[in-house]
Symmetry: D2
Subunit: 362 residues, 4 copies
């Protein structure tokens, strides 16, 4: 999280410490309620616990100190929650282990983040679709290995952007957030389905404390989406070069030293996001080797890495949406560069738009 840079690289609304701690508290509250439903704890205790499961009641700084001592934020969080819960203290965190709380909270954070990310990505794709349809007859040079090749249309280029976005969106949309509940060694699963239902998550066949496939599936989808966003923004930067000047961002960025210069600032931010995500995916893949029933380091390395991926994935999606929605296209210049030829890309654009409509029907 960076107050200074989050507006450029992606909001931390859903991935901040506060959001993550609230998600842990949501999990503790749901756990208590699920236990109360079967009489394992008094209903009044569940109510009392839920009433104090509000991040504004907790001091992040002192949670941080306790986190360092225990190598998990759940130890100090449960201590603080028990203190707040008063008589219900003994009903807090029953049967659960630290990882149940952190992993479930991570799923909640991911679910909430994904909704925002998909919304931006779909809007960006829709903006591409509009460009594809509007520029069916806008001939421009095709360029391969950064050399001019045969002519295409700008509509086809926009259709390519749209299709790539749609394919990455599909990977992210099909990912399923799943509750984690198993207790110290993964055998306490009685209330798994109930907690899942309360939190709007799926329930797994087994706890997944050391099975990280769903973590890397999410990470990879975010990496793919960021990568597509980076491709689109990179094309915009290249097309906005003064020597090409076929498009430009409508709201360009200022230079600190050259007042007359306009920079493709939003595209640059998207490229920066996209350049940072691949390595974070690799970190998560290299952290799949969780030892035995709970990992000694590999799990802990996931926490901030996945949150950063969600933040940057959101930055890439929001950024590419802004770039495409605010793109100024110089049709005449494209046509001049293409040599005033006619290129028929209608069938390709139609096919792509049909697939787009199928992906995301109105």
């Amino acid at each position: 999280m960076s107050e200074l840079l989050d507006p450029m690289f992606g909001s931390h609304e859903h991935t901040s410490d506060r959001a993550w701690v609230q998600a842990m508290l949501d999990t503790e509250a749901a756990l208590a309620r699920a236990h109360a439903e079967v009489g394992a704890i008094p209903a009044a205790h569940a109510d009392a616990i839920a009433a104090v499961c509000d991040v504004s009641r907790f001091d992040l700084g002192s949670l941080g100190t306790g986190t360092a001592a225990a190598a998990t934020p759940v130890v100090p969080l449960v201590d603080a929650l028990r203190e707040l819960a008063g008589d219900a203290a003994a009903s807090v965190h029953v049967g659960a282990t630290s990882q149940d709380i952190v992993d479930t909270a991570t799923m909640l954070v991911a679910k909430r983040s994904r909704e925002a990310i998909l919304n931006d990505a779909r809007s960006g794709s829709d903006a591409c679709a509009r460009l594809a349809d509007a520029h069916r007859l806008t001939a421009m040079p095709g360029r391969t290995l950064l050399q001019r090749a045969r002519p295409i249309t700008f509509g086809l280029k926009a259709a390519q952007w749209m299709t790539a976005l749609d394919e990455a969106i599909a990977l992210l949309a099909r990912w399923r957030p799943v509750v984690q509940l198993g207790g110290p060694v993964g055998t306490n699963t009685e209330r798994t389905a109930a907690v899942a239902q309360l939190l709007g998550l799926d329930a797994p066949a087994l706890p997944w404390h050391t099975n990280r496939v769903r973590i890397v599936e999410l990470a990879s989808a975010l990496g793919a989406l960021s990568g597509v966003a980076g491709k689109v923004a990179g094309d915009v930067i290249l097309l906005a070069q003064n020597e090409v000047a076929e498009v430009r961002e409508s709201a360009r960025g200022r230079s600190s030293s050259m007042p007359d210069k306009g920079n493709p600032a939003r595209s640059v931010a998207v490229v920066a996001c996209a350049r940072r995500t691949p390595a974070l995916v690799a970190t998560l893949l290299s952290c799949m080797d969780h030892e035995h029933e709970r990992a000694a380091g590999a799990w802990q390395a996931e926490w901030e890495t996945l949150r950063e991926l969600l933040r940057l994935g959101g930055g890439a999606a929001g950024g590419v949406r802004a770039v495409v929605e605010g793109l100024d296209v110089d049709v005449q210049r494209m046509r001049d560069h293409a040599g005033e030829v006619t290129v028929d890309t209608d069938a390709l654009i139609d096919a792509a738009l049909a697939a787009h409509a199928g992906v995301e029907p109105k």
Copy 2:
């Protein structure tokens, strides 16, 4: 490819230079046949081309020289193919671009590799299923952060391995290889469906020269599978420590200096594969920024990277299968360590086995 190390890290049967060139030739042959079907080239030409599309007729060394000059193996390959094709020379590579041939060949290589990888991974998962069923009553210590926690059963541990393998298998199995055909700038798609059918690949809505989502989807699935294999092998190595000694590989590896020592050699090889895959996935994710209609470097960086991922993914899958199929389990020692308690994990194991049967019905 390494004659010395491929038996340890994964066979290059489907990923060698020869396999890849053959797949390019298969693509050229299918392209010719597809053109002949609609009379775009003479049928006799398609036959003549197909007849010489055999890698044993080509000299890899001289193709290599030409590849360096053109930054693509297709330029020298098409030159050589035209020479072999005699009168049919003019019917070779009609309407296609280098990337059509390389990308389609890569899909063929991936398809063939995946079949072998999935076969090994499924056999490994089945072996886990057998262990899960056989060791329902084998209590052993659960271990978290590498400290003893509450007891579990070895059946549950094996069920966890199985479920993780199954989830990674599902990611890899759902990936779809798709033909690439578009010509210089992605507009020549008339014969796409025909070539796809001839090669047993799917046909895309648009050429995907600069849309690399399907590349990173495949790579990520291979990374996930390798990661799960590494987790299983890592557990075996830890359980095989002399101080633990709850399992051991039935065919252990020799030491060059200590004849009395037996090393968990297969597990070590799996871990080594798994440690190498995450970065290769990152390379492919960071290479999604293909410029305009064809990339100047990002595409070329994919070639060996993806082939290496397929090889190492295969090494991990074959290795984990061998480890689990050849695992010696010391039931008494597990029980001694657990303190002769009884642990009921039947319901969890049953649920996991049911899901396994659903994933891969016999």
Copy 3:
């Protein structure tokens, strides 16, 4: 930055937004003073600028908004600084470009961070030296591929840790922070030496706007140090397994579910830091391709990545120091495991200690 997790993964004292903005302000103040020295701006202006170059006068939130618009924090920072500077506004940021300020600030942040990191790493290495000397006669099993091999001494193992730390320390210590000053396209270098001297940095032959060797040299050294720390912590975790129990952390971490269990919490945190650094180094290496005279994305991707590396490198160094300084060694258990043999490792330990003393003389 994470208030919740920084105490576990590394302090943000030197790498926070506030620290980074203050370093940018230090740079602007030095630039003004350097211009005043040669009469390029009035001395009173330099004083006025220096007087307001205090991060507490700036609102990070509004700087953030402006950063997103310009794709650089320097545009809004200079705007705000000019407003605060009153009559001296025209003397702010003279001849400089955004990247001059950000890169120089990054060097200041790195220099300040490195001092703390090296201090911790050297203390950790000294603690290893004490263990090496104290345990010359403490025989224990050598273990290779996690199988028992021939006996060693714990003194030798500690000497190995020490030597590896010393070698990584040497890589980090020899890195030189260098001022950046060149203006829009790298030609305004008149005051480079003066600004360098004012800030305690080296002066380069040329501006290095698109030459990122020094960035990746620093990153690589941090990666190496983290990697060594992770190796030491990993050994501690393995030696602390209940079945081995040859060492344990004196201040172990609590479990949220098993009050009787003590976790190697500090070692786990070090391993987590070490698992996160390699990919961040890769990000910086993959961002060396700065286009022309200033990059469109590759540079911007460095900012948070390098700060995170400094934070995690600090977490790893501080953590490994705490682990080694607080290590409980069970000498009798080591000897029992080794079979009461005598192993002479004195010469090796002496050689290593001599090299250690040479590396860091008292």
Copy 4:
């Protein structure tokens, strides 16, 4: 290794299986000779061993089979060597462990590879120096964020390339290859200095079986050099765009579909090399956690990764040399784009050339 692609991505002359096995045999021969020097084995045995330490006498295929079984190539290599050595069999591999042979061989391979890499990189830097000197007066537009900024000279741009290459060269040149000798657990070091001297390597204070700092130092230097090469090649590709056309490669690559098109093929190959190296560095950094006295997977993962880095680093260095040595510069077009201004970059170019001469005196 790829017969098809090595000419494009880098020669395997020094990194092939054969080269690596020969280096292992060189190590075994030196070990025998060092033992014979002190009478530990008969001199005739050392001669007999040395006589058969020739890779052409060994079958890589059968070594490969044995490698997979033992998870080390040294077990089958020593078996085969003993068979060839006849009466001297008992004097083969005395006191050594597998890792001694592999690590020392890796140092030999790295040393031989580095010489070729540095030679190419220095020639490339010299070519940049010539361009810097020749184009002091060639004004051209400076470009930042891919937008035109103030004018520079092409001489200054070439000087920037040169300086970056020189700094990366310095990192690689200062790396020291060091012999590995310690036996099963790192305590057999009596002949270390002798073997080091025979092989032209340095001798370490301690064996470094699990201290991988020198591996990642080498890897990082190769990553830095590749990164600089990629920056230079990337600039060439951008300057060679038809719309810019200020430079072009003198020997451009053919297209398979457009005979009239010339591609910047060498630059593309360099970029492809540079895109592949960062992740390989990350793999090596993430593999520093070698357990205890010898790793179970982390070490084995290094073998091919480091060889690939050496190959790609060589490809990048050789490629950038070819690009710069063969660069056609369109001086008039640069001046036209700059607007016929005069830019004085003499002092900067002089300073850079002086530093270059210091780095690499004639």
